[in-house]
């Protein structure tokens, strides 16, 4: 096993193939329903079609950040402490950030045509931008490297701090007077504000974006696991590759004694990456 064999290893499996296939079909149906079947709005016109992207993206961003907080809690809880939960939290946050960016961009386009501006300092918009900023900070913290256990603890506490913004952002339209419209679908004691194909398409958008979120999360989890393996074993592979190059370049004359190394009989065990690097280095 070396870098090349690791990079050639796909993160796909049966689960990702099934979820990916369903997502592709769902996106196709959503495109047809959203752009062709669903009628334009009497007030908003064609811009209403952004409703099939924007609310579902925002919901998936919340789901991503929520799963990140849950994974972080599971990591901090001594009985469930495992680096798998840390990877789960990191992958969820990354996918959540991707959907949060989609939310802001789609909302900004809608705002340009409905309000006349790309951006306004409305409570919901400002809090969503803040949410994106705090989770970008969280992802930056994850990229600081170093000992995986130390990184996981730091990031778990940071994730819980970052998640505090989510409920405030979600309730912004209820707590403050904002330009952003209130809930369209889930209104306590009241029926949804949209009907017919618009309602069907919007509900479908939640399901399809949910599938897309799951597909991205599964792949990101695989990549996180591969990154941890490189962190753990990359040094050994790099040393083995250099030694193999040395053996290949050595003069062919005479029975040269093979260099010791991993995978070669008689050689001392090579240090792992963590033991080879002094504490604090590489951070």
């Amino acid at each position: 096993m070396n870098y090349k064999s690791l990079s050639a290893r796909p993160t796909s499996n049966h689960a990702t193939l099934v979820v990916g296939g369903l997502t592709l079909v769902g996106l196709g149906v959503l495109l047809v329903l959203g752009l062709v079947v669903s009628p334009p709005d009497t007030v908003q016109g064609e811009t209403v079609r952004l409703i099939y992207v924007h609310p579902a993206s925002a919901t998936m961003a919340y789901v991503g950040f929520g799963l990140c907080a849950l994974g972080s809690l599971a990591y901090l809880w001594p009985r469930t402490r495992s680096l798998r939960w840390d990877r789960f939290a990191g992958a969820s946050a990354e996918v959540g950030v991707a959907f949060c960016v989609t939310t802001i961009v789609s909302g900004s386009i809608w705002g340009r045509y409905s309000w006349g501006v790309w951006w306004t300092w409305d409570a919901r918009l400002t809090l969503t931008a803040l949410l994106l900023a705090v989770f970008l900070g969280y992802l930056a913290l994850r990229r600081t490297g170093g000992d995986p256990v130390g990184r996981a603890k730091r990031c778990a506490v940071a994730a819980l701090c970052c998640f505090l913004v989510v409920p405030v952002d979600h309730e912004a339209t209820n707590w403050w007077v904002t330009l952003h419209q209130k809930d369209t679908l889930f209104r306590i004691g009241k029926s949804p504000l949209i009907h017919g194909w618009q309602l069907t398409t919007m509900l479908l958008s939640f399901a399809v974006f949910g599938l897309l979120f799951t597909w991205m999360l599964l792949h990101r989890l695989g990549i996180e696991a591969l990154e941890d393996r490189i962190e753990e074993e990359g040094y050994v592979w790099a040393v083995a590759e250099r030694r193999a190059e040395g053996v290949a370049q050595a003069p062919a004359t005479g029975p040269g004694r093979p260099l010791p190394g991993p995978g070669l009989a008689g050689g001392p065990a090579a240090p792992t990456m963590r033991s080879a690097i002094p504490p604090g280095e590489g951070r």
Partner: protein, 222 residues
């Protein structure tokens, strides 16, 4: 816990009194920031007077970054952080002590900055009770959140660049609440100032609780 907090706060403040970094470097930096705001707004008295509360709190945030980096930078050399970890002091006490020391330094800087905006921007300071309560709650919130994120970044090579990225978005509610409360206190906004104190108090309470519970975990890995 409180005894340990007083010990740690006393240690940090004693170091600051001897090195005089806050008074000789951070306070002049704060005044330079105010001068730069003046240049940026072209010495327009109307804008400067009306923006003074917001500019004051932006300057406080920038100074808080320096104070927090300094608070953890003190223990970077000579294995001082290992000494703190192995001292047997309660982790919650260490958190409260470091936050108290940062809060005390921020209080001094806020006094300097308040004088600065009165002299340079012609700002008014009315309703002393509301202003005082705003400063106390905002300072506690900033110090608590800063101490949590400060220890998070303390052991990392990229701490100088990472800390602002982590901390500034998180303390944005303090900037918003404190500015709005101040604007109400000096009569520049129509809203009631006291309701913004609820936001500042909630922020401070959440980060004090998070710090008391999580500081030990973070200190282990710093």
């Amino acid at each position: 816990m409180w005894r340990d907090a007083v010990l740690v706060a006393g240690k940090d403040l004693r170091v600051e009194l001897r090195s005089r970094v806050t008074t000789n470097q951070v306070a002049p930096y704060a005044l330079i920031v105010l001068l730069l705001f003046g240049f940026a707004f072209d010495q327009d008295p109307y804008i400067l007077t009306h923006a003074a509360p917001g500019l004051f709190w932006v300057a406080v945030l920038l100074c808080a970054l320096l104070a927090i980096q300094r608070s953890f930078g003190l223990e970077a050399a000579d294995g001082a952080r290992d000494g703190l970890r192995m001292s047997g002091l309660d982790a919650a006490g260490i958190f409260l002590g470091k936050a108290l020391a940062v809060a005390a330094q921020l209080a001094v800087l806020e006094a300097v900055l308040a004088g600065g905006i009165v002299v340079l921007f012609g700002a008014r300071l009315g309703h002393p009770l509301l202003l005082g309560a705003t400063c106390v709650l905002a300072t506690v919130g900033l110090a608590a959140a800063g101490t949590v994120y400060g220890v998070m970044a303390a052991g990392l090579r990229v701490r100088e660049t990472l800390l602002p990225l982590l901390l500034l978005p998180v303390v944005a509610p303090v900037l918003l609440g404190a500015t709005q409360a101040w604007l109400a206190a000096v009569g520049l906004s129509s809203g009631g100032g006291w309701r913004w104190l609820t936001l500042l108090a909630a922020f401070a309470a959440i980060y004090v609780a998070l710090g008391v519970l999580g500081f030990g975990t973070l200190l282990e890995e710093a």
